[in-house]
Symmetry: C2
C-alpha cells in the first residue's frame, strides 16, 4: 500500500491535510537563483547536496540553473535521483559492504557517478567491484579537514590517491574536503577560521600529490554555512551546499555572511493542525516526532507571536500560549519552521508546493528512507 | 520508485544491507506470549498499540494470541492496518480536520473503528461527518489522567460523554485514560503513584456518568511501563501497551515491575556497518539520524564492551572505542539498541525478521510515514 498525498493540486493551503511538508515556491525559487548568482564571479562549480531534499524535481531545477550535478550520501539515494532524471551524482561518502558495492557499480554504468574513500581496504573493495562488473569508477579521496568524523589526514590521503590511481577499474577524481562541523558555528569569524584550516589541509595534500606527479582535478566541499569561503579560497573547485534551498531554524540562528543579499529565506514548513485545546494556555498540534526532526532543537511557530512549541512526543506537539497572545483555536492550521530540514524532509513522502496560498504541485520525496 | 528491501529471506544476518531494522524472532515471540500470559488472571482485555510497530504482520500475531484489536494514532495508520487485515482499530487520539473526518467515516464502514474526542466542537464535527456518510462512530472521551497533554478533566469529560450520547451518528463507547507521562518514570513506586491518581480521575468521572445515567462500558489506557497497574486497578477494562513487543534503550532504563517473569526482552535492533576507521579510538557507522531516532537518547551498542555510540549526524554514527576494547574493523556489522522504538521504526520501510542468524522473512512497515 502506498500512502496517499495530503493534498491535490489546486486546493487552498488551509485545506491541506496535516501534518504536511509545505514548500513555499516563491522563496524557494529566490533561494535557487541567489545561490547561482552568488557563485557567478567565482568560477567555482555548484553541486548542491540532495541529501537535504531527496527530491528529483528539486535537483532538476538546480541543474537547470547551472549546477553541474548533485551530491548524495547513499547508493539508494543515488538510484532514486538517477531514476528521476539526474545524470551526474557524487556520493559524497564512503560505500562499504558487498551488496552496496554491487549496486554502486551497476549504477555507474547508467550515470556519471563518483564516490569517496578514506581507507585502503575500501579502495581495494571498490577496485574489485568495478573490475568484476567491467565498470570504471571515479573515486575522490576524503580528507579530514577538521570535522573529526570520516576522512584521512593529508599524508594518508596522498597515499590513498596513489592507491586509487594505480587500481584497475578506478580513476582518481580529486579530494572530498567537507568541513561539516563548521556549518553551524554561529559567527562568520569562527566559520572563516575553520575554513582557513580546511584550506591549509587541502593545500598540504595537493602539494604531496604534486610531488608524486598526481594531478588533483577537483576539490569539493562546503555547505550552506560556509560555501562562499570555500569558493573564495582559490583551492576549492566545487561547492556542495544543500540546505540553502529549504533552510531551517538552526541555520536561522547563524550570523549571516557579510553580503546581505546572499541571505536565504525559509521556504520549507510543516503545516500542523490544532487538535486539542485542553487549557487556556495550552494547545496541542498533530505534528510530533514522526513529522518533525528535533535533533537541532524544537520547531518554531511561524508568524504567531507569543505561541511556542515546547514539547514533541511521537504524534503530538505541545504549544505554550502567552496570556497576551491571540490563542489558536481548535482546527486552526499553523506553519512550523523545522529545527533541521534534512531529517524532517526524510519523514515525509510528499512535498506540497504552494504559491499564493494554493497548492501548485505535489512532488514525491523519492529518496525518502533511502538509507542504505 | 519503491525502495528495495535490504535483504532477501534465507540470507545470513551478516549479508543484510545496512542500516536495517532487525527483529529477532525468538525474543519477539516470547514478548508476545509474556504479555498475553501476564493478563490472563486479570480479565482485562489487551489492545496493543500499533503506533510502535506500524506493521500489520505484527498486529495479526498479537490478535492471534488473544488481543481484542489494536490501537493507533492516525487515520492513515488505521487505513494501513485495516488494509493489512486488522478488523478492529481504536484511534486512541483526536481526529480534527475535514479531510481526516471524511476518511475516518469511510473507514468506519469497512472495519470496527473507534475514535477519541476531548472538545465539544470536535464532537459536533464527528457527528456531522458520521451523519453525512450515513455511518455510526464509536467515540471514547479522552480524560486527562495526569499527563497534561490532551484530554478533558472529569467534569468536562462527563459533559462530553453526554454530548456524544445525544449526537446522531455517534455512540458513547467509554473513556480513554492513558497516562503517557508515567510510562518512563524510573521507579515502580513513582509509576504506581501516578496510576493511583489516574484511577482516581477515572472513578470521579464514572461516578459523574452514573449520576447522569450513562453507562461506561470501557476504560482503556496503560502502556508498557504501567499496564499491570491499570490491569489491577479494578476500573480499567482494557490496556494498550505497544513497546513491549520490540523494547528500546529508554524502557531498558526503567526499574522493572516486581514480577520478574514479566520482563520484556530487546527484540528490535538496527544493524549498521563500520564505514570508516579514521583513528584508533574512533569508528564511524553508516546509521545516523535518518536510521535511528535520538529523542530519548543515543542508541546502545549491543554485545560489544567498551564501544559507545557518542554522536549521530544525518547519515553517520560516531563510535568511541576504549583503549582496552576489541576495536571493530572496517566492514564489521554491529547491532544497535535504539533509544526509542516508535520513531525509529517509522524511519524504515522493512522489518528484517531474523532467527538463528538467518533472515526468515521481510515484513513491510505498512504504516511508516502514515502521519495524517
Amino acid at each position: 500500500m502506498s500512502l496517499p498525498p495530503p493534498a491535490e493540486a489546486g486546493i487552498a493551503l488551509e485545506d491541506v491535510d496535516t501534518p504536511a511538508l509545505i514548500l513555499e515556491m516563491e522563496p524557494f525559487e529566490r533561494n535557487l537563483r541567489r545561490m547561482t548568482d552568488s557563485l557567478k564571479e567565482s568560477g567555482v562549480a555548484l553541486r548542491p547536496h540532495a541529501k537535504s531534499h531527496k527530491c528529483p524535481e528539486i535537483a532538476l531545477r538546480q541543474l537547470a540553473l547551472g549546477a553541474v550535478g548533485v551530491c548524495c550520501q547513499k547508493v539508494t539515494e543515488a538510484e532514486a535521483l538517477v531514476a528521476g532524471g539526474v545524470g551526474d551524482v557524487l556520493i559524497a561518502n564512503q560505500v562499504v559492504g558487498e551488496r552496496k558495492l554491487r549496486r554502486l557499480v551497476e549504477l555507474a554504468q547508467r550515470a556519471r557517478l563518483a564516490v569517496c574513500a578514506d581507507h585502503p581496504v575500501n579502495v581495494a573493495a571498490l577496485a574489485a567491484a568495478a573490475t568484476a562488473a567491467g565498470a570504471r569508477l571515479d573515486v575522490l579521496v576524503e580528507l579530514d579537514v577538521g570535522a573529526g568524523r570520516c576522512g584521512a589526514p593529508p599524508a594518508a590521503a596522498a597515499e590513498l590517491a596513489q592507491q586509487v590511481a594505480a587500481s584497475p577499474g578506478l580513476r582518481f577524481a580529486g579530494l572530498q574536503a567537507y568541513q561539516g562541523a563548521a556549518q553551524h558555528l554561529r559567527s562568520e569569524a569562527e566559520r572563516a577560521a575553520a575554513i582557513d584550516r580546511a584550506v591549509a589541509a587541502v593545500q598540504e595534500t595537493t602539494a604531496l600529490l604534486a610531488a608524486h606527479g598526481i594531478e588533483c582535478e577537483r576539490v569539493t566541499g562546503g555547505g550552506t554555512g560556509t560555501y562562499l569561503l570555500e569558493a573564495a579560497s582559490g583551492v576549492y573547485t566545487e561547492v556542495q551546499p544543500g540546505s540553502y534551498a529549504l533552510m531551517d531554524a538552526d541555520y536561522g540562528r547563524n550570523e549571516p555572511a557579510p553580503a546581505a543579499t546572499l541571505a536565504f529565506e525559509q521556504s520549507l514548513f510543516v503545516l500542523a493542525t490544532v487538535m486539542s485545546r485542553p487549557a487556556p494556555r495550552r494547545a496541542v498540534l498533530d505534528a510530533g516526532l514522526k513529522a518533525l526532526a528535533t535533533d537541532s532543537g524544537l520547531p518554531l511557530v511561524d508568524a504567531l507571536e507569543g505561541v511556542r512549541y515546547v514539547k514533541a512526543t511521537d504524534e503530538h506537539g505541545v504549544l505554550e500560549i502567552d496570556p497576551s497572545a491571540a490563542a489558536p483555536m481548535l482546527g486552526d492550521k499553523l506553519r512550523l519552521v523545522p529545527g533541521h530540514c534534512d531529517p524532517t524532509v526524510n519523514l515525509h513522502d510528499w512535498i506540497v508546493c504552494v504559491r499564493g496560498g494554493r497548492v501548485e504541485a505535489l512532488w514525491r520525496v523519492a529518496a525518502r528512507g533511502a538509507v542504505f
